[in-house]
Amino acid sequence: MRAFVNNRRVRDVFWQVAVWAAVVGLIAYFVRNASDNMAKAGIASGFDFLERTSGIELPFLLTRYTAQSSILELLWAGVVNTITVALIAIVAATFLGFALGIARLSRNWLLSSLAGAYVEVVRNIPVLFFVLFWYFAVIAALPGPREAIGIFAVAFLSNRGLTVPTPLAADAFSIAALASVISVGAQIAIAAWARRRRDRTGRGFPLWSTGAVLVAGVPLMAFAAAVAATAWDIPVLRGFNYRGGFVLIPEFVALVAALATYAAAFIAEIVRGGILAVPKGQLEAARALGLRSGQVLRLVVIPQALRVMVPPLTSQYLNVLKNSSLGAAIGFPELMNVFVGSALNITGQAVEIIAITLAIYLVIGLAVSVLMNWYNAKVALVTQ
């Protein structure tokens, strides 16, 4: 008996079963209480409410949702808005963050101090502060539509939001997109061929110059042509507001600006850390081999810096996604706001609604993680 109790295998099994039993028991207890409480309060359960008409108007829409649509469609509209805000904020934050990170490493004392001051100020303030500040203090303080700030006389920024022109037809853009896909595909094929040739013969190939043409040049020109070939609905001031175009509501502008300016400070630190993590010997060795400074950066510094930067960048991007839920604080109709706010108000089914919302964030987050892990595996060091 003593030997049985002291057997390591037996003890391992015992503890694992005990902990799981405790957790499952606790959850069962919670579920029983919840069903009792909900029965007492007369709260319905199940997912039938998703079929009901929502009756809610949304001020910012990218789907075909109307007030007569179902709650499921309301959910989808919220998801699309969340992803849109997060994507735009991530792109903006990446550019701003890389610029700030490189500026912080500049030899120029003034530039590096300014970038450093930005990072230190922003990192130590809550993100909700930025959302509220941009919305109530910056966008609200912009001039009205009559004195709007024109951007190349086609887009207008005022306290009613950012009014942007919209294309009247999408055909030219479809063609441009197709051309871009083909051209990027060609570059990928060339890269694969060039690598095989290098492995076989050791001869290099100017991949960067074909890349510049195929990845940047062709798509840029195709889209520029599409922009020129398409008729545009350009916003025009009529009376007190703009007619035509698409209105990015103030909530949208404030949320994107807040998420981007906040995340940029963290990305700047990641970029700085990544570049500093490249050992000095690597630079010296590269120079000793006779590489020019551009080549040193391209072939030695960036590949090694990226390897350090990708995992923390992933978690920053996920933070932007999660922080987009703060749109709920200023009334932007993203997932949290339309679902945990509006849909919960009309149905009262808190458990189902929270479960769906959390599941959606987890799924999107998982998708981003998988994507970035795949990329990380590509840039990671291959050791023998």
Partner: protein, 353 residues
């Protein structure tokens, strides 16, 4: 004197005007500074109004700090009854005294003292804030401002640290079922937005306790925050656990120590010391994230600032309210991040030497 001048001249040439491009960058930065910083300084200080008592005194073109002075009590205590605010002040004094005591104590006594205070102070502070046994009760909905921000951060932290340690140990466990459980728990809370968790806590917690038991609104928010921060703390502690050499485990086993003794006496004391800077950073994140309780209408520092904007007697004080609240958050978090840096440096030194 001349060497100094030469040195600064050399600095200016090397760090500001090394190349033509550098000179252009320097001038562009100067232009930006003059364009943005000068108006900011004028608004903040030069053109600002400091004296007075009402909105009518705000005549300058700059900020009107009179507003902050008039609202000072709310920014600090929220709607805590005026005649009871001495209790909050008393807590502040006691905490400062305790901090001073730890600072002047002998290094080897510090850990024991800190542990004793961590056990004794939270109930005492809770009693002083809430009342009972002789003190008039102050409901949690009357709490607010900076006091509430710090209260939520500290109490959520107190819940999160032990839970985080347990989770980290679970994730590093030899037993696969326990490891899986810890991973699921940690990744779940790290994968969802904090405001969703605060909603979850405020809507679901009252449902899952037996009917008849109420859960205080503030307690729900604290528990919600604690769950999320525990998951992040667990990752910080895991970093510390992974940094411990395998030989330590082997030596402990060779000495005949069982898991609990090995963990408490050998592993955790070393792991926590290594993880302390990372845990401090998580606490900073927690302090910033307390502002999210605004979403369930609990008015912490940022919430009070937001609520103050609705006062018809003080129209147009948006900037002042935000700048003041933002400055306080910044001061707190910046001080903590400096402390974390110092801890990190000291740890690096003790490892090197």
């Amino acid at each position: 004197m001349t060497t100094r001048l030469a040195l600064s001249l050399r600095f200016v040439r090397a760090r500001l005007f090394a190349t033509p491009l550098d000179a252009i960058i320097t001038f562009a930065c100067c232009w930006a500074l003059a364009h943005f910083l000068a108006p900011l300084a004028r608004w903040l200080v030069i053109d600002a109004t400091f004296r007075g008592a009402t909105r009518a005194d705000c005549t300058g073109t700059g900020a009107c700090w009179v507003f902050i002075r008039a609202r000072w009590g709310q920014f600090m205590y929220g709607f805590y009854p005026l005649d009871q605010r001495w209790r909050v002040d008393l807590v502040a004094v006691v905490l400062l005294l305790c901090a001073a005591l730890i600072a002047i104590a002998r290094p080897r006594h510090r850990a024991v003292m800190a542990a004793g205070m961590a056990v004794a102070l939270p109930p005492l502070v809770l009693f002083l804030f809430y009342g009972g046994i002789g003190l008039p009760t102050v409901e949690t909905r009357e709490w607010g401002g900076l006091m509430l921000t710090l209260f939520i951060a500290v109490y959520a932290g107190l819940l999160a640290v032990p839970l985080g340690i347990v989770l980290a140990l679970g994730r590093q466990s030899r037993l696969p079922a326990i490891r899986t459980l810890a991973v699921i728990f940690i990744e779940f809370w790290r994968g969802v937005p904090i405001i969703a968790v605060i909603f979850l806590a405020s809507l679901i917690l009252p449902l899952i306790v037996p009917s008849g038991i109420g859960v205080d609104r503030l307690a729900r928010a604290v528990i919600g925050l604690a769950l999320v921060i525990a998951a992040y703390m667990a990752e910080a502690v895991r970093g510390g656990l992974q940094a411990i050499p395998k030989g330590q485990y082997e030596a402990a086993t060779a000495l005949g120590l069982r898991y609990p003794a090995m963990t408490m006496l050998i592993v955790l004391p070393q792991a926590l010391r290594i993880a302390l800077p990372a845990m401090t950073n998580e606490f900073i994140a927690l302090l910033k994230n307390t502002s999210l309780v605004l979403i369930v209408s609990i008015l912490d520092l940022l919430g009070v600032a937001q609520a103050a904007l609705a006062d018809p007697a003080w129209v147009g004080m948006t900037m002042e309210a935000y700048v003041f609240a933002g400055a306080i958050y910044w001061l707190l978090c910046f001080a903590l991040s400096r402390a974390s840096l110092r801890l990190e440096r000291r740890a690096a030194q003790s490892h090197g030497g």
